[in-house]
Amino acid sequence: MNAHVDTDAAQAGATRRELVVGTALVSGALLVGCSPADLLAVGAKTEVGAFGPFIRIAADGAVTVFNKHIEFGQGTHAGLAAIVAEELDADWSRVSVEQAPANAKLYANTLMGVQGTGGSTAIPNSWMQLRKAGAAARAMFTAAAAAAWKVPETELTVKDGVVSHAASGKSAGFGELLQAASAITPPSEPKLKSHADFTLIGTDRVRRKDSRAKSTGEARYTQDVKMEGLLTAVVAHAPRFGAKVSGFDDAEARKVAGVVDVIQIPTGVAVVARSTWAALQGRNALKVTWDEAKAEPLGSAEIEAKYAEWAAGKGALPEKLKWETFETRGDAAAAGDGEIFEATYDFPFLAHATMEPMNCVAQVGGKGGVKLTVASQSPTLDQLNTARIAMTLPGSVQIENLFAGGSFGRRANFQSDFVAECVHIAKKVGKGTPVKLVWTREDDMAAGYFRPLTHHRVKVRMDKDGFPAAWTHRVVTQSLMKGSPMAPKGIDTSTVEGAMGSPYLKATPAVDGQVLMPELGVPVLWWRSVGATHTAFVMEHTIDQLARKAGKDPVAYRLALFEKAGANRHIAVLKLAAEKAGWDTPAPAGVTRGVAVHESFGSVVAQIAEVRIVDGVPKVGRVVSAIDCGTAISPDQIAAQVEGGTCYGLSATLHDEMILKAGAVERRNFDTYPVLRNSEAPTVETHILPSTNAPSGVGEPGTPVIGPAVANAVLAATGKATLRLPMIRA
C-alpha cells in the first residue's frame, strides 16, 4: 500500500509538492530527451517476482503471464501469452493471463515509451521483450536442473513445462524446480529460438484464453464492478460542445430515493446515488442551465460545405490556418496531354460506439491511496490525468485493469475524459468511497472524440498508358494531435497516413499532396485504423476509377503500379487474394467483385469483396482477404481480427454517420445511428502470407480495405463512383 496521510488538507499539501517536483522532473527529462517512464513510475509499488515483471510460476508449475496491454477483444490474452509460452516451452494448457498493474517503467510499450495500447502495437512492441522474458525463465530452469542433476545444461530439453535429460532419464516439472530456478540470476541475453523451432507460435493451438469467461457472463468489465459502499454517478452533460454549466437546481433530484449527492464538476453536474436507476432518475429530475456563449456554432453539414470550399480554393481561410505539404515531387500543376480525372470525397464524423459505453470506478481520499478500477487503454495517461486532479504522484495512482467492452481507440485520449470526470466526482465524494461513473449510450455518443469529418479533393493527369503522371491531392481534416503532448513538430501524419507514402504516389512522377487542419470545438480522436479510414478509400477507389478510364483490369493495373513502386508486399498479398478469390474466373450471376489493397500499421491487406445490389443497396457476401503481418502468432485470432475489422469498416461504409446541428450531437443511440447487424455481415476468408519477419499490426489493418473494395464492386456493377460515405444515409 502507498503511504498517504489522512486529512484532505494535509494530503493536498504534501502531495502537491511531490506533484510539482514530479512534473518538473518529467519536463526536464523530456527537455534532455530521456525517457520519462522512470519518473512517471515514481511512487509505484509493483511487486516483481524471480522471473521478472511478465511471468509468475506457481508451486504446481502453472504459468501466469502478465499482460501490460488492455484486452478489448483484439486477443492480447492469446498472443502475448503464446510468445512467452513458446520461448519458455511451457504447457500452453496451463498458461493463464492476468492484467498487469499500471507502471510506466516496467510495463512501457516499447514503441511508445510509456504504458499504453494503440496503433496495433501490442504484439509488435512485445515480441522481443516477451521472447526474452520467456527464454530467460527457461534458462533459469535448465540451469537449476543442470546443477541438481550434475549434467551439462546443453543436454537438457524442455517441453510442456518439463525439463528432461535423456541420457540419465531424469525429468522434473517447473513446479519441482521452482525454488532452485528462482535463485538463479536470469541471463540478460538469453538464447532465442529460431522460427523453425517454434512449436506453438503460428499454430491453431494459440486460441483465446477468455472465451469461456466471456460466454458465461463471468468476465468482469468496469460496468460490473461491485465494491463495499460503491456509489453510482451519472452526469448531466452540456447539450453542445463547448457549453458550460451556468446554474442548476437540484431540489427535485435530491428527493429521488437513493440519490445521495449532486455535485458540480468541470464537465457538468453529477448525480450520485446508491443504484444506477436511482442516479438516472435523479438526473431526469435535475434542472441545469447552460452558458452556450463559447459553444461550437457549426453543424456537420456546414463543416462539410466549408471543407469542400477550402479544398476547391474558394473562400478565405481562417487566420493562421494554412495548407501544409505532406508529399511533393516534380510539378504536378504542369500542363500535359493526358486525360484528367477529378473527384472529391466526403467522410462524416464517426462515433466509436463501443458496446460498453465509457465508464470508470475511482477512489480518492482514502487510506488506500488513489485507485482506478477501469478498462484502461493508456494507463500512464490515465495516471497523469488522475494525478493532476487528485493531487498525487502519477506513479502512485493504482489501476486495476479490466476487460473492456470494445474501444476502437475511444478509451485512449490525452484528456482521459471519462476517467477524469469520474476522478473529479470521487474526489468530491472523498474518503476513498468507490464511485462508479456510468455513461448511458446517449452520454457516450454525445461526448464526441469522433473520427474527424474529412474531405479529399483529387486531381490526376494520366499518361499515354493510362497510369498517373501527375497527382494533386488535398485533404481537409482536424488534427488528432494538435495541442497534445504527442504533437509532432511537422504535420500530423495521422491525418494523411495512407495517402502519404502510398505506393501509387511513389509510382507517380509528379505529386502535390497538401493537408489543411482546421480547429473546431468538436473533440476528435483516432478511430480504428485512424487516417486509413479515409485515405485507403480515396486511394483505392480513385485507382479503380483510373483503371476503368484506362481500360485496364483493376488487379493488373495495381500490380503494374506496385511494380513501379517496388511494393513487393502489396504485390504478394494482391496476388494471393486474387488467386483465392478466383479473380480471373467469372463471378456468380448478379455478383460483381471489387478489390482493394492497403498498408497500415506495418501490415498489408488485400481484399476482394463479392457484392450483389439488392433493392439498390450493396449486399456483401464473400470477402477474400490476404494479409502480410510478419510472423503470425495466432492464425485464428488474426482471422478473427480481419473478420471483425472488416465488419467495423463495412459498418462505416454502409451506415455510420454522426450528425451535428449547431455543435450538438443529433444521433445519440442505435435507433438513429444505425450500425452493421448480423444479416449484413459478410463471410470473410483470411489467408495469411507466410513470413518470418517480426510481427506487425493486426487489430486495425483489416478495417480500411473493405470500404473501397465494396465501392469498387458497386462501380463495376453500376458504373457509379461512391463519393460520400456512408452509402446508405439514415
Partner: protein, 151 residues
Amino acid sequence: MATSLEINGRTVQVEAAPDTPLLWVLRDEAGLTGSKYGCGVGQCGACTVLADGAPVRSCSLPVSALAGVKITTIEGLGGTHPVQDAWVKLDVPQCGYCQSGQIMSAVALLAGNANPSDADIDAAMDGNICRCGAYQRIRAAIREAAAQSRA
C-alpha cells in the same frame, strides 16, 4: 418497494421501484452482472434474457410486468450449455460485452428451431449488435450448437 421475481429457478426478493427496468434489478439488486447495459432502449440486445423462454430486452422491461414470469439470464445456463460450448469452441467472443445477449438470443432460437436456416438465424440475431463484428462466428457457432444438439 419489495418485488418477488423468479430468476434462474429461484425466487428472489428485490427492493426496487415498480418502473425499474429488469436489467438494473438484475445487475444492481440481484448481483447478476452477466446481462449487459448497451443502449437502454431495446436496440442493441446486450441485455437480452429469457422471459418464459422468449428473448426479451431487459433494459426496457419494468419489473412490475414480471410477476409470475420465469426469468433466465446467462448465469442460468450453467456455463456448459451447448450454445456456450459452441461459442468457446469457435472462439466467438472478442471484447465479449455483447455475448451474453447474443447467446441468450441463440438459445431461444434453437429451443424453438433445432435446425435454423441462414434466414432464421438472421431474423433471430439481427436485434443483437456486435461492434467487434464477430457475426460470422456467431452464425457458425449457432450451426455448430444445432449440429451438436442433433447428434
